[in-house]
């Protein structure tokens, strides 16, 4: 008589187990934000932000509208300085080195810390060219088709587009376009991808597809995602940061910790009020 699995529970296969490998208890930080202040001209949008973002983990940034979430992620790859009057004080260390230090090439930096935006923004070009674009910009040569295929596969889009790579990217659905933008970001093999509300323009099914993708990618890439959807933050992230505005409308970090703790037993009453929908 077979006694094992007598409850007839589905067995975890090795392939399944490989999807979420046991992670080391103390993750290594890849980005360390130290006493960061971000300004738009005179106005301070972020104050005294210090936090470490962990390698090959998903970190979610949540908080009410206008608290500086977008500003924060844009500070992480120096896109903030592209807004008028945008400047910072403090440090953002990427692998131990201050990205605001002299001699850092922002374009090079952005190839290592890529970004995906709220609205899918493919170029009015073919699917193939959209993905190949980043390679060109960054002067990456070699087998482009191979790289494009690899990126599309990693973005879980390959099977849907492999027969029509020459078609315009604008013919794809919103969800497909967003995965294409993720493929485009992946093409240059970044170590970190910043995502600012990547699902807000997508329907629920496309949203779930992108969330699956984020979890999958987090085995190789560090992902930092801004989201207004608390359930989404709870589903996809390993760590969650909650930002709020002070009286001067400057965003500050209220709480940052493992997602499971933030959503079951937050330390701050402000976090509690926000995630239970009783924020005033």
């Amino acid at each position: 008589m077979v006694t094992e699995n007598f409850l007839n529970l589905p067995q975890t296969t090795t392939a399944e187990a490989a999807v979420e490998p046991a992670r080391d208890a103390t993750p290594e930080s890849v980005i360390d934000v130290r006493e960061l202040q971000a300004y738009y001209g005179e106005n301070r949008a972020l104050k005294d932000i210090s936090l470490s973002l962990y390698s090959r983990r998903v970190s979610a940034i949540i908080g009410p509208s206008g608290c500086g979430k977008s500003t924060l992620v844009r500070c992480l790859n120096r896109m903030h300085e592209m807004s008028s009057g945008g400047h910072v004080k403090g440090e953002v260390l990427y692998q131990g080195e201050n990205i605001y230090g002299a001699g850092v090439d922002p374009v090079e930096l952005r190839s290592r810390i890529g970004m995906v935006f709220q609205k899918p923004n493919p170029f009015p070009k073919s699917i193939f060219e959209n993905v190949a674009f980043g390679l060109k910009v960054n002067g990456i040569s070699g087998n482009t088709s191979e790289r494009v295929e690899r990126s599309l596969r990693r973005a879980a889009l390959w099977d849907e587009v492999k027969d029509r790579l020459k078609q315009s990217a604008l013919q794809l659905s919103g969800g497909q376009q967003q995965r294409l933008c993720i493929a485009r970001a992946l093409a240059v093999e970044p170590e970190v991808i910043l995502m600012d509300e990547p699902c807000s323009a997508l329907d629920p099914m496309a949203t779930l597809a992108v969330e699956e993708l984020i979890r999958e990618l987090s085995q190789e890439v560090t992902i930092i995602i801004v989201t207004h959807n608390m359930q989404q933050a709870a589903r996809v992230s390993h760590h969650t940061a909650f930002l709020m505005m002070d009286q001067d409308k400057a965003g500050y970090l209220v709480e940052y910790g493992p997602t499971s703790e933030v959503f079951t037993n937050p330390k701050s009453e402000h976090t509690e009020a926000y995630i239970t929908g009783r924020f005033s």
Partner: protein
């Protein structure tokens, strides 16, 4: 922002839970009363009414599941709902012990009384008091009161010990008493289990308030 509708549902859930609590409290008291007065009809009533307790528990469970599915509760809200779900189950099991006592009552029908019952009614008062206070600690989100309930379990255990020794003494003295003494021992055991479940409720309340899952008082039985 306020969540009027959700908060109303949470309050309803809690008041339904308190109703279940008082149904169980009454069942325990009635079963002991039936035992004391050798009242078979009273015992049968406890057994019949256990069905109401069961269906109230299922109704509470359904409410909890529906709130989780429709409101996506987080943090303190989530802990409250999960806590009430657990408490509903604990209460229903306590009701089963009361039903068990009522059944023993029927088994003892026609047998001469072994002795006047003093300690068992006392034990019953202690456990219903623990039950009441565990639910009060829920209502007031009071961890100190919850902890006190957990600590009272030791007193019930001590009384159980005493009843046990006394009943063994009866059995040793007079083999004719073995049957009846065994029945009464079962009653004492059921009451001891009820106290244990009251401490489970109190532990859940502490979890709900603090987010920490701990076993406060490991019962000796």
């Amino acid at each position: 922002m306020v969540r009027t509708d959700f908060d109303r549902h949470l309050r309803m859930l809690q008041s339904d839970l308190l109703i279940l609590g008082s149904m169980v409290e009454k069942a325990i008291a009635k079963s002991l009363d039936a035992l004391k007065r050798r009242d078979a009809e009273g015992a049968r009533q406890v057994i019949r009414e256990d069905d109401f307790i069961d269906s109230k528990r299922y109704n509470l469970e359904e409410q909890c599941i529906e709130l989780i599915a429709t409101q996506q509760p987080m943090a303190g809200d989530l802990r409250s709902i999960i806590t009430m779900l657990h408490i509903a189950v604990e209460l229903e099991r306590m009701g089963d012990y009361a039903e068990g006592i009522a059944k023993i009552c029927l088994m003892m029908e026609g047998e001469p009384p072994l002795k006047p019952l003093i300690d068992l009614p006392r034990m019953s008062e202690m456990v219903t008091d623990m039950l009441r206070r565990s639910l009060d600690s829920l209502v007031h989100r009071d961890t100190v009161a919850a902890l006190a309930v957990c600590n009272d379990d030791d007193d019930v255990d001590a009384l159980y010990d005493q009843v046990y020794r006394e009943l063994i003494f009866f059995m040793v003295q007079d083999t004719n008493s073995i049957q009846r003494a065994t029945y009464l021992l079962w009653v004492a055991h059921d009451l001891e289990r009820i106290a244990d479940r009251a401490t489970n409720i109190a532990e859940r309340v502490i979890f709900m308030v603090t987010g920490k899952m701990t076993e406060i008082n490991v019962s000796r039985y």
